[in-house]
């Protein structure tokens, strides 16, 4: 079938040059991540580039292997587990993220895994003013 070696290369090249369509959702994921922080993704909430408004977008990241769903709850969303579901990494890996706009202030928050397991953010200060026996973390949003 491949009598001439050069033909093989030509066929491979022609094959590989065909246009590839990438999921256009990449665009929105890029823009969401850009809003989420200026640094490459690690753990903990990251402040977005300076914005004109008082509100800044923060990206929350948690590693939760084997979780089916993870919710971000805190002083910014009425601790409502239905309000801010976190999104798993693209191939269903253990990294979950959510982006939340925050105005200046101090907020306590936690991650709720599968509706029952509480996780604090290991990359953020622990909230010592916790009254309910489960760990919480603190994010502080500056105005200057």
């Amino acid at each position: 079938m491949f009598e001439h070696s050069e033909n093989v290369i030509e066929r491979i090249v022609a094959h590989l040059r065909r246009p590839v369509q990438i999921d256009p959702a990449v665009d929105s994921r890029v823009m969401e991540e850009i809003a989420g922080g200026p640094t490459p993704r690690v753990s903990g909430p990251h402040e977005a580039p300076p914005a004109e408004t008082a509100t800044r977008a923060f990206q929350f990241v948690v590693v939760a292997p084997r979780a089916a769903r993870v919710a971000l709850v805190g002083d910014f969303n009425d601790w409502d587990a239905a309000r801010t579901p976190m999104r798993p990494s693209q191939r269903g890996g253990p990294v979950w993220t959510a982006v939340v706009p925050l105005s200046p202030g101090r907020y306590r928050y936690a991650f709720l895994v599968d509706g029952s397991r509480w996780l604090a953010d290991p990359a953020a200060p622990a909230a010592r003013d916790d009254e309910f026996g489960t760990p919480s973390s603190v994010v502080t949003v500056g105005g200057s």
Partner: protein
């Protein structure tokens, strides 16, 4: 007598209006029906006293989501009312709700009211972030006095973003094994600039302006 009655009436009126406001907050419907009126009543008293109510609502909702028993939720909200009240006394009138919430956290962490009052005098801008950083440092194991001295020294000249970065540096050093007190003085010196920093509560040298 007449004056007194008028005052009492208007206070009562304010309380009634406040009660109506809290009772109508549908978010509190997530509380157990046996707990909801108690929490609403505590929140109403706080509102009547001019304290911010949103942190109280959030604390109650946190308790509900975490499945805490009713008496624990009521107790937590009551303690927060007390902390907010103490923060306002220390920080003075005109203190914003975010400042009061951060001040309450600093008090709970162990900072004294005098430190809050000094912070207020040390900085003309909002002190939400210095108060929050103070609370976080103490939570990280930094002795209250060291944390207070460092934040006081930095507060007058340091931007919010740099204060948050200062706190991160302290936590990083602690995580790497530095004793908390040493971590805070090292990070404060770095944040303050090359001229060094005396970590006593009165030290407020001028800092070189940022590039």
């Amino acid at each position: 007598m007449h004056l007194l009655r008028t005052t009492s009436t208007s206070l009562l009126g304010a309380t009634l209006i406040a009660t109506a406001a809290a009772a109508q907050d549908q978010r509190l419907d997530r509380l157990d029906p046996s707990v909801r009126p108690l929490v609403a009543s505590v929140i109403d008293s706080a509102r009547a006293a001019g304290l911010p109510t949103e942190p109280l609502v959030q604390r109650a909702l946190e308790g509900a989501t975490k499945g805490a028993p009713g008496e624990v939720i009521v107790g937590a909200v009551q303690r927060l009312v007390a902390d907010l009240g103490e923060a306002r006394s220390a920080l003075g009138p005109g203190t914003t709700p975010p400042e009061l919430a951060a001040g309450a956290a600093a008090l709970r962490a162990g900072a004294g009211p005098a430190v809050l009052a000094k912070l207020r005098r040390a900085r003309s801008q909002t002190i939400t972030v210095p108060l929050a950083v103070l609370a976080d440092l103490v939570a990280s194991g930094v002795p209250v006095d060291s944390a207070a001295a460092a934040v006081l020294a930095l507060a007058s000249t340091t931007r919010d973003a740099d204060l948050v970065e200062f706190r991160r540096a302290v936590e990083r050093d602690i995580a790497l094994g530095a004793p908390p007190g040493m971590a805070v003085s090292t990070a404060a010196s770095a944040a303050y600039g090359a001229q060094g920093l005396q970590l006593d509560a009165g030290a407020r040298q001028s800092r070189p302006s940022r590039p």
